[in-house]
Amino acid sequence: MQHYTMNLTLKVWKQKNCKTKGAFETYKVSNISSEMSFLEMFDVLNEQLVAEGKEPIAFDHDCREGICGMCSMYIDGRPHGPWHQTTTCQLHMRQYKDGDTIVVEPWRSNSFPVIKDLVVDRTSFDRIIAAGGYISVNTGNAVDANCLPIEKDKADESFAAASCIGCGACVAACPNTSAMLFVSAKVSHLALLPQGDPERKVRASNMVNQMDKEGFGSCTNIGACEAECPKGISLENIARLNREYIGSVFG
């Protein structure tokens, strides 16, 4: 693969905290290698800002291998940027060419208030899980793991739903800022397993109620969430959540 360097213009959202208004600021970065990750390009910019005596841009990131779900940039109008099923930290600069301008914003949702610059508060997701996204089994209660055979297809389907990293891209992508893909992934993960069966009704209704309380919007089947999900969580999960929820209300 041919490597190259480039000069870029960045328009980045700056906001001191949740109480103040934010605005875009423009930055220039030069000599960016095509081998860098997108966040490494931000590291370069931040080092440059520190050297100039300015304040660096705050952004969330941790594992930098696409699994912790912490990074959360809205790049050129798309959560996590242009690559399909890829988190921001795994986006690499070979996507861009010399002279490009890149616009970077935080997740936009009333349920994810901005903490600073590109950093938002996603604790609403934790509260949704706390409302019922679990199986009530205390440590020490378990029977032998192989006492409970589970069809491979079911287990695989459950795993696919469980691979959600809780990043919030689905909410950021949705024009209604709905959290249905996130909630449905958890409901599906647990509803597809026999262990999750005893609590499935109460789980679906409690999680949906908490989601509403947090102020997330309604789902109108647009599908942007699935298109932008870095882990490819399927819309089928939302259909399943609807069935589970209806079952919990009328069943």
């Binding site: 905290n17 081998e35 050297a51 291998e65 934790d126 029977v143 287990a155």
Partner: protein
């Protein structure tokens, strides 16, 4: 202070059972009056906080990330070991115990390791009950694979995302306790000191990373579940935020640090691509089940790997270690890769890489699948497609990750890999009950030193984290706190809290007031380079002595020239990082001091002066069969205490994988 490991007496396989049946208990009404602080919410922390909450303790849990679900355990890929013997291949508690002791190069405690092997099976049961979607066979039962350093298949997995699934399981358990009011969660908080009252740990000072405010929190006991310190090397497979701060503050308050120089360098990581590199990405050890590692037989061979014929390739692990081949333990595989690259056989543009090749696995699996379909004479392309699908199912996410980072397709060309810092076997010294040398202060998971000796086997970190959190601390904590039921909750205006907060605040102010010229990141990079060059895969007396002086000088420079932008009382990641790097600058020195005193090679610690004629690590049991537990005296002054290791069951021998 003499070290007492408190290993129960009696035969190895009944120590833990005896302990559990005779330890003191706290009754439910008293548990409700006892407060426990858990710092860190990875596998050890989340499982401990959830389990203690279930038992009725009042728990406060802290993490620096925005959610407990993001702790770096989430990035563990390959799997978790358990002595289930579901494969009927001769596994047993004893064998897992033995493999772990041997894998650790006879520098771990027998009692702890046997307990770990005993509870391993319970962990799998617990996780399945929570809904962890482990990989399964068509019959619906759990699937296993093999990992390095073992000859059985005992590793349970969920594709290449086992850590994620286990952590989500523990996190859900934790969230459940939060909703029940048994656990209070403090995310985006960092512990900055331990508060001791009458010699016992009774709380912490934490900084709210959003507002910058310092907070005082009381606990009858404090559990540090804060992971390892691999980021002292700057480049490692750890998350960007992983740090030693909590453990280091505890160390400065009297907790001994055990075997700080024992670092695991993982053999299969994506090589460094340039100076901009911020972290290294692991390619799971499970890949060595099916991938074959090689370099060209000719020095400086610049041909494309696919153009190099079979007979021109050196499968050096299979050549040197025929019994274990590509599945030798991590330390052995890493050194072998370094040896080939240093000798001039490395590949890729940097020449600091070796190939990990899946072509023969794709062909082997393809033939099996074609046979299943009744295709006796399938052509190459058909076999390739079948085989590729099998490999994709097993390792698909890893292959995708590799391609995103390097832009190369590993189904078509072999992966390029090189060793990278991954895990730290060293950590806070703890006794059998996981208590440090500070009473009521505990360390769990990677943060302690206890179970992996000088080298950890693959798929054992997840096992240890969950063992400590789910099955060990619920017993051992009660045994201690049973004597504390009369201790009332101590108000946080107690002078000890006031004094501790002042120390923390003064340090922050001092750092902010330096207003120097060089960024925190730059200091961290410079420290990392010293550590990697002189306290990395190979270590020698001269290099270590130089490193100690260089680190001292760098630390001095840091405290006179670091530049931290922004304010204290706001969200300020540069300030958070400055505190962590300042602690790494102290820890790095201690690691070199420890590496210097251990004049033997063992596990991940390779002293170049101590090797066999064939270049294998040469252990010195006569002089070094001990845990080095360091006591902090003053800056740059540490006193060595030795916990002599006694092997009652396993007889240490030269560790051979040949």
């Amino acid at each position: 202070m003499a070290l007492n490991s408190k290993i129960p007496s009696g035969p190895i396989d009944s120590k833990w059972t005896t302990y559990k049946s005779t330890c003191k208990l706290v009754n439910p009404a008293n548990k409700r009056q006892i407060e426990v602080i858990v710092v860190g919410t990875g596998l050890a922390g989340a499982s401990a906080a959830a389990s203690l909450g279930e038992m009725g303790y009042k728990v406060k849990a802290f993490c620096f990330q925005d959610s407990p679900r993001r702790a770096h355990s989430i990035a563990a890929q390959g799997g978790i070991n358990a002595a289930k013997n579901y494969q009927n291949d001769g596994d047993s508690t004893y064998r897992l115990f033995y493999d772990t002791i041997k894998g650790g190069d006879y520098r771990a405690r027998e009692g702890n390791v046997h307990r770990l092997a005993e509870v391993s099976a319970n962990i799998i049961d617990q996780c399945v009950a929570q809904g962890v979607p482990f990989a399964r066979e068509y019959g619906g039962l759990l699937s296993n694979r093999s990992f390095g350093g073992t000859q059985v298949q005992r590793t349970f997995y969920a594709a290449g995302q086992t850590g994620q699934q286990l952590l989500i399981g523990a996190y859900q358990g934790l969230e459940r306790q939060i909703s029940l009011g048994n656990v209070t969660m403090y995310s985006r908080h960092e512990m900055l000191d331990i508060v001791k009252i009458d010699g016992k740990a009774r709380g912490i000072i934490a900084r709210n990373l959003v507002t910058g405010e310092l907070e005082r929190h009381f606990g009858h006991a404090v559990l540090l579940c804060t992971g390892g310190y691999g980021n002292v090397f700057y480049l490692s497979t750890n998350a960007m935020g992983s740090n030693v701060t909590a453990a280091w503050k505890a160390h400065r308050q009297g907790a001994y640090f055990g075997n700080p120089c024992f670092t695991q360098i993982h053999p299969t990581c994506i090589p460094v691509s340039g100076d901009h590199q911020s972290k290294l990405t692991l390619m799971s050890e499970s890949l060595r089940n099916d991938g074959r590692i090689w370099v060209p037989k000719a020095k400086g061979d610049n041909r494309k790997p696919t153009d190099i014929k079979e007979e021109e390739r050196d499968y050096y692990l299979e050549r040197r270690y025929p019994a274990f081949g590509n599945l030798v333990p991590r330390d052995v595989a890493s050194r072998a890769a370094k040896e080939r690259c240093d000798a001039g056989y490395g590949v890729g543009s940097s020449k600091m890489a070796v190939y990990l090749d899946f072509a023969s696995a794709i062909e082997r699996y393809g033939k099996v699948e074609a046979h299943k379909e009744g295709l006796q004479n399938a052509d190459k392309a058909t076999i390739y497609n079948f085989g590729k699908n099998v490999v994709k199912e097993k390792y698909g996410n890893l292959f995708e990750m590799y391609e995103k980072i390097t832009g190369e397709n590993p189904y078509e060309v072999p992966m390029r890999i090189y060793p990278a810092v991954h895990y730290t076997m060293g950590g806070l010294w703890v006794d059998y009950e996981l208590m440090t040398t500070v009473p009521n202060l505990y360390a769990l998971g990677e943060a302690n030193f206890s179970d992996h000796g000088a080298n950890r086997l693959g798929a054992s970190a997840l096992m240890q984290g969950l063992a400590d959190g789910y099955f060990v601390i619920p017993y051992t904590l009660g045994n201690n706190l049973a004597d504390d039921i009369r201790t009332k909750s101590i108000p946080t205006d107690h002078p000890a809290f006031v004094a501790a907060e002042k120390v923390v605040n003064d340090r922050i102010q001092k750092m902010m007031n330096i207003k120097g010229k060089e960024s925190v990141e730059s200091f961290h990079k410079r420290l990392g380079k010293i550590m990697w060059d002189k306290c990395g895969m190979g270590r020698n007396e001269k290099g270590l002595k130089e490193a100690i002086e260089e680190i001292k000088a760098l630390r001095k420079e840091f405290w006179s020239n670091v530049r931290i932008p922004g304010e204290v009382n706001e969200y300020n990641p540069e300030l958070d990082k400055a505190g962590r790097v300042a602690d790494f600058l102290e820890l790095g020195e201690l690691m070199c001091i420890d590496a210097l005193q251990r004049k033997e090679s063992c596990g991940g610690h390779f002293r170049e002066e101590s090797q066999t004629d064939e270049g294998e690590a040469l252990r010195d049991d006569e002089n070094f069969m001990y845990v080095a537990a360091w006591e902090f005296k003053a800056d740059s002054q540490y006193e060595l205490h030795k916990e002599v290791l006694e092997y009652e069951v396993v007889h240490p021998s030269a560790r051979s994988y040949k």
